[in-house]
């Protein structure tokens, strides 16, 4: 994306944020649809559970929409939203050791549950492989110190730049780079056999 295109996207986002701040439900919905995947991915990498990640998405958007009137014009809504989501996911992790979900009503198993739609997952064998890989990835991520996990999730799943992460987390760019490096090295060490063709990951400079 060239500089003009990036600015256009930012302006479009700003317009949407302005409308959402005035309580325009369509604009809020559009922001939700555009950013929910990134928020979910970051939250999922941090919490390791789909239910928790969905709760984080829900909470992050409610918080963000509730504070939009004071959102600083010109700042990145996406960066701010991901920061909120990361904080919520960390809150959740901190309270997890005592976390326990109590269903209000017994869950009716005959009722069809939402399925997870993933076109990359094919037949039953493939699903089993995918489930095993996902479990290994979760375990590997849990090995990382939380500050590395956070930065890695924002970088790999949130599509954030070093600069955006530095701003969101409140650490300098060198520290961000170092955390990403060490996180990826550890993950490759633990998961490298799963995706050998991805061994040569690269970081790309985004034209800004």
């Amino acid at each position: 994306m060239n500089k003009a295109a990036t600015t256009d996207v930012q302006t479009a986002e700003q317009r949407l944020v302005d409308r959402a701040a005035r309580g325009d439900r369509d604009a809020q919905r559009q922001l939700f649809e555009e950013l929910r995947d990134a928020v979910y991915r970051v939250a999922y990498r941090l919490t390791g559970r789909s239910e928790d990640a969905l709760d984080v998405v829900q909470d992050a958007f409610i918080r963000a929409f509730g504070q939009l009137s004071r959102f600083e014009r010109g700042a990145s809504f996406r960066t701010w939203l991901l920061r909120i989501a990361t904080n919520r996911a960390l809150d959740l992790l901190r309270s997890r050791r005592v976390r326990y979900a109590v269903p209000l009503h017994p869950v009716d198993d005959s009722e069809p549950r939402d399925t997870i739609a993933d076109p990359r997952i094919g037949g039953p064998d493939e699903s089993l492989d995918a489930a095993e890989s996902a479990a290994r990835a979760r375990a590997a991520l849990e090995v990382l110190p939380i500050e590395q996990r956070c930065v890695f999730a924002m970088f790999a799943e949130g599509g954030m730049t070093y600069g955006e992460i530095a701003e969101a987390v409140g650490v300098p760019i060198g520290t961000v780079m170092s955390r990403i490096f060490h996180a990826r090295r550890k993950l490759r060490e633990l998961l490298g056999d799963l995706w050998p063709e991805q061994a040569d990951e690269v970081t790309r400079e985004r034209p800004g």
């Binding site: 929910r36 979910y40 939402d114 170092s178 970081t203």
Partner: protein, 175 residues
């Protein structure tokens, strides 16, 4: 050339490597040296600032995304909670969610049932109930002290567990 320029020149090969996607090929010592320099040098940090993964696969498998129906349900709750929060918070920062915790879970579930009994039933088919703690009541929900007259919003989470939204004045996510 001043001392700063000289320090920049020292790390220039490392910086060029990192910028061209070769960070992973550096060793830990080199990365730590570059990181220390970036943390103290605005100019070099600015050069690194725009780096992003941009669709590059990571060493971890892709995440399966929720189905459309799940997103629809999440959106409905955001819209409902935002509406309720606007009405209830009246100037308070925003709501925060807390799920039941295990050790406190039973007591909280009991407290919640009492609240529901006092304030009104959570109708089947209705996702949200707005609650108000009865006079004389006070409960602790994951570190948030909830006293008389506090407003709650009760929703059902994605896994059918109750989620309590509590009006929280202490927001740390200032934009």
């Amino acid at each position: 050339m001043n001392a700063q320029d000289e320090r920049c020149r020292d790390v220039a090969p490392l910086l060029a490597r990192a910028l061209s996607g070769g960070l992973d090929q550096l060793d830990g010592v080199a990365v730590d040296r570059l990181a220390a320099h970036l943390d103290g040098c605005e100019r070099c940090a600015a050069a690194m600032s725009g780096c992003a993964a941009d669709g590059v696969p990571t060493a971890v498998p892709p995440i399966a995304m929720p189905a459309d129906a799940t997103w629809e349900r999440v959106w409905r709750r955001i819209a409902q909670a935002s509406e309720t929060a606007t009405v209830t918070a009246s100037g308070a920062d925003i709501v925060r969610f807390r799920r039941f915790a295990s050790t406190a879970g039973l007591a909280l579930a009991a407290a919640l049932m009492m609240l529901i009994a006092i304030v009104g039933r959570l109708d089947p088919g209705r996702d949200t109930a707005e609650l108000r703690l009865a006079p004389g009541g006070a409960v602790q929900i994951d570190g948030i002290e909830v006293a008389d007259g506090t407003s709650f919003v009760l929703t059902i989470g994605s896994d059918d567990a109750p989620v309590i939204w509590v009006i929280d004045e202490r927001s740390e996510d200032k934009p």
